[in-house]
Every structure is written in C-alpha cells, then in structure tokens.
C-alpha cells in the first residue's frame, strides 16, 4: 500500500496569500509524510521500501502520526518510570514528591476502583495494561494540544489498533478463565428458565447479537476516542481559521480575531478535560469489558 498522504508544505508555499480552511484542517488532522518543526518548517520523513507480506505490500515508512506515537510513548515511559522509581523510593522511607504523589494517586485509583472493582479476583495481571493504556492515550491526546504537536489518537488506525489490543485481551482472558465451554456460552447463551422451543428462538436471536457485541465494543472504543480527538481539533482549527477567513475585512477582522482567540482558549481548556476523560473512558471500559467476560451474566 503506497502512501497517499499529501504534502502540505509545498502546497502552502505555492498558494501563499490565499487561505483554504479545508486545507488547514487537513494539514492538522490528517496523517502526513512530513512533520512540521518549529523554526525549521516541514521536514520530509524518510520513505522506506515497502514490505511484501503474502500479497500485501505494507508501507512502514514513518509518518507524522508514527512520530507522535513514538513521542507519546517516550514521554509516557519517562514520566511513568520516573514516578515508579520515586514512589518506590518514597516507600523506602523518603518523602514523596509532587509527580510521584500525583501518579501514585492515579495508579491507586485505577488499581482499586477500576481493576479490583470491575475485574475482581486475579485483577493484578491486568493493572499494567489498564495503566499503560490510560497514560499512553492521555499523553497522545495532550500532544494534540501542544504547538507543533498533533494527536495520534485522532487517527482511526491508531485507536483501532489499541482497541484491537483490548479486544484480544478481553477474549483471551475470557477464554482462559471460563474454559472452552464457558467461553462458548458468551456467544451461544440461553438464559436460565428458557426451555423447549423457546430455547432455539432465543439462540437464533441472541447469538448474532452476542457475536456482534464482541466486535462492537472495541469498535465503539476506537470510534469514540478517534471522533472525540478529531472533532476537538476540527473545532479548534475552524474557530482559529475564522481569523484568516475574515482577514481581508477591515475593522471586523479585529473583532473576529479577538472572538476566535477567546473562544479557542476556552475550547482548549475543554479539550484538556476531554483528553483526560477519553483516556480514562478507554482504560475504564477495557477493565469493564475484562470484568464482564470473566463474570458473565
């Protein structure tokens, strides 16, 4: 699969002086083979030879969202490892500091209220997954609010892959804790008390529902995160775009600029909240799905 992403840098230079809101939105939201750096401008990312895997040609060349993905992972790793060391040191008798306390509070909440609460017995194995999902998604979400940043979580492929991880963990843990027969019952389920011909009616109706539910849950997970991040960015850049759209109008442009500035500031604060909420929802639902399949009906 060849990369069909456009290269905005050249386009922008060619059409200097004209403003295209759609182009600006696309530039900020879509994936790209170049990354715009502060003071340097757009940097072309290397194009690697495509991999051919059984008829499929896969382009693994780094893109803007790959850079943001890796950056998010690095930041998450740095903060989490630092906090882990600090908390470990604090537990050994040293006074804990601010960062360690903050991350510790979140970790304790995720461990006790989400993992222990939803998953119950044997929850310990899933705590690292839920924590990593939360902090990784949160970091990627917040990177979208930083100048020259962007949200990898505004890409459906990224959120879909993370949801796929959740899906696999949910199904595998369900299979392991329920056994083969128990796992089959999560698809072919007859409520107790239903007998005779009704059993087959219920089976006929419920089996597709249960089966689809397995895929719809992670699908909703992926769409929710992607849509929230994308919508937030579309909103921010649309409102900012008003400044340039009305740039040719005398007097009124100052009013528009001031209004946009105020509105975008407010929306950005809201986006910070949404970044936290969506990361939390993803992690929380992952824990909830694991709990649901391990304690069916």
């Amino acid at each position: 699969m060849t990369n069909a992403y456009q290269e905005h840098g050249a386009a922008q230079e060619a059409h200097a002086g004209e403003f295209d809101l759609g182009e600006m939105l696309g530039h900020h939201i879509l994936n790209s083979t170049e990354y715009e750096l502060p003071f340097i401008g757009p940097v072309h990312l290397p194009h690697w030879p495509e991999l051919a895997v059984g008829g499929l040609t896969i382009d693994v060349s780094p893109t803007k969202h790959v850079i943001l993905l890796l950056l998010g992972a690095l930041i998450t790793a740095a903060f989490s490892i630092l906090a882990g060391q600090r908390v470990a040191r604090a537990a050994a008798g040293r006074a804990p500091s601010g960062l360690a306390n903050a991350i510790e509070a979140v970790v304790v909440y995720f461990r006790d209220d989400l993992c222990k609460g939803y998953i119950g017995h044997g929850y310990q194995r899933f705590v690292p997954l839920v924590l990593t999902l939360f902090f990784f998604i949160l970091t990627m979400n917040l990177l979208g609010l930083v100048p020259w940043g962007g949200s990898a979580t505004g890409n459906i492929v990224v959120t879909g892959t993370l949801a796929l991880v959740t899906f696999v963990v949910v199904e595998v843990s369900g299979f392991l804790s329920l056994g083969f027969r128990g796992y089959l019952r999560t698809i072919f389920f007859v409520p107790p008390g239903v007998t005779g011909a009704m059993k087959y009616v219920v089976l006929a109706v419920m089996t597709p529902v249960e089966f689809m539910g397995k895929f719809l849950k992670p699908f909703a997970l992926a769409i929710r995160l992607f849509a929230n991040m994308t919508a937030g960015h579309v909103l921010i850049f649309s409102v900012l775009g008003f400044i340039f759209l009305f740039g040719n109008y005398a007097y009124i442009r100052w009013l528009i600029a001031a209004g946009s500035y105020g509105l975008v500031s407010a929306i950005l604060l809201l986006e910070v909240l949404i970044a936290f909420i969506q990361a939390y929802v993803f992690a929380m639902l992952t824990a909830a799905f694991i709990g649901l399949i391990r304690h069916p009906h």
């Binding site: 699969m1 069909a4 992403y5 456009q6 386009a11 059409h15 004209e18 403003f19 295209d20 809101l21 759609g22 182009e23 939105l25 696309g26 939201i29 879509l30 994936n31 896969i58 382009d59 693994v60 060349s61 780094p62 893109t63 969202h65 790959v66 993905l69 992972a73 790793a77 989490s80 490892i81 906090a83 882990g84 908390v87 470990a88 537990a91 991350i103 510790e104 970790v107 304790v108 461990r111 310990q124 705590v127 690292p128 997954l129 924590l131 990593t132 902090f135 990784f136 990898a152 890409n155 459906i156 492929v157 990224v158 879909g160 892959t161 993370l162 991880v165 759209l245 009305f246 040719n248």
Partner: protein, 196 residues
C-alpha cells in the same frame, strides 16, 4: 467524497471561493485509510511500552504500594497486639497491686490483733500482780495490826495488873493473875468490840 466535504466547508464562506480554485485537494479519504503500516507501528509501540512500563514503572510502583500497604497493615496489627499485651499487663499489675494491698491490710490487721492480745495479756498480768501485791500488803497490814493489838493487849494486862496489885496491896500470882486479867480483857473486848 472526502474532497467534496472539504469544498463544502469552504463553500459555506464567501472568501473561500478564491481558494476553491486551487489545484491541490485535501486527501480526506485518508482519514479512514486502513494504514496497515501505522497499525503495525501502533501495535509494536504499545506492546513495547507495555513491556517496558510493566517492568520498570508499574512493577516497582505497585510493588512499593503493596509493600507500604502491607507495612502499614503490619504496623496496625502490631500496634493492636501491643495494646492488647499492654492491657493484659496493666490488668495483671492492677491485680497484683490489689493483691498486695489486700495482703498489707491483712498483715496490718493481724499485727493489730496481736498487739491487742499482747496488750490485754500485759494488762491482765499487771492487774494480777497489783492484786497480789495489794493482797500481800493487806495481809502484812493485818499481821502488823494483830501484832500491835497483841502488844497493846499484853502491855495493857501488865499495866492493869500493876495498877490492880497496887490497889489491892498484894501481889498477885503472876500466871493466875495474868490469866484473870486476860479473860477480863477478853470479856471487855467482846462486850465493847472496840479493840477487836
């Protein structure tokens, strides 16, 4: 469709008509492009991050939290045990104190009783001794008195005999006269009882 939506956005505003004529188009269809390369990147990045954080962040962090919680629980348990121990000790000490006080009181009471007995004994002995001494004194006095009376009586007989012999002008036979006088005095004594 993606490109059309981009134009739709632009067409909504009058200024955009200029930009619409631009050659380039926004590749909106890439918004939903099944980019397998990115999926592989995401999967590898996430799994690597999960592994690294699991090992170097969550493991020490959760371990430290568990250790601290266990430590606190241990401290609470230990404090409870120590309090129970202290309460037990206190109860025992109280009991011992009460026992000691009881014993002391018993000793005091015993001592007091012994002292009382001793006092009574001494008192009784003293009284007895006094009585004996008094009785002795009385006997002595009686004896002395009797001796005195005897002496007086003898002297009186002699005096009476002397007087009588002088009066009678004859000497009376000593022994017979003496007996006579003595009997006379005895009669006198019996009739008067003054010298008895």
């Amino acid at each position: 469709m993606g490109a059309a939506s981009g134009h739709l956005l632009a067409g909504a505003l009058p200024v955009m008509s200029v930009a619409q004529e631009a050659e380039h188009e926004v590749a909106w269809e890439s918004l939903f492009a099944p980019d397998i390369g990115l999926a592989i990147w995401t999967l590898l990045t996430f799994l690597t991050l999960l592994f690294i954080l699991g090992r170097f962040a969550w493991k020490p962090l959760l371990g430290a939290l568990d250790a601290r919680e266990k430590g606190i629980q241990d401290n609470i348990d230990e404090a409870r045990n120590q309090r129970e121990e202290a309460e037990k000790l206190l109860a025992r000490h109280r009991e011992q104190l009460a026992e000691g006080r009881r014993q002391a009181q018993a000793v005091v009471a015993e001592t007091r009783a012994a002292a009382e007995t001793l006092r009574k004994e001494l008192e009784a002995r003293a009284r007895e001794e006094t009585q004996a001494m008094l009785a002795n004194a009385r006997r002595e006095i009686e004896r002395e008195r009797k001796a005195a009376v005897e002496a007086v009586r003898t002297e009186a007989v002699d005096v009476a005999l002397a007087i009588a012999s002088r009066l009678l002008g004859e000497r009376l036979d000593a022994d017979r006269d003496r007996q006579l006088v003595a009997s006379y005095i005895d009669d006198l004594t019996e009739s008067e009882g003054a010298l008895a």
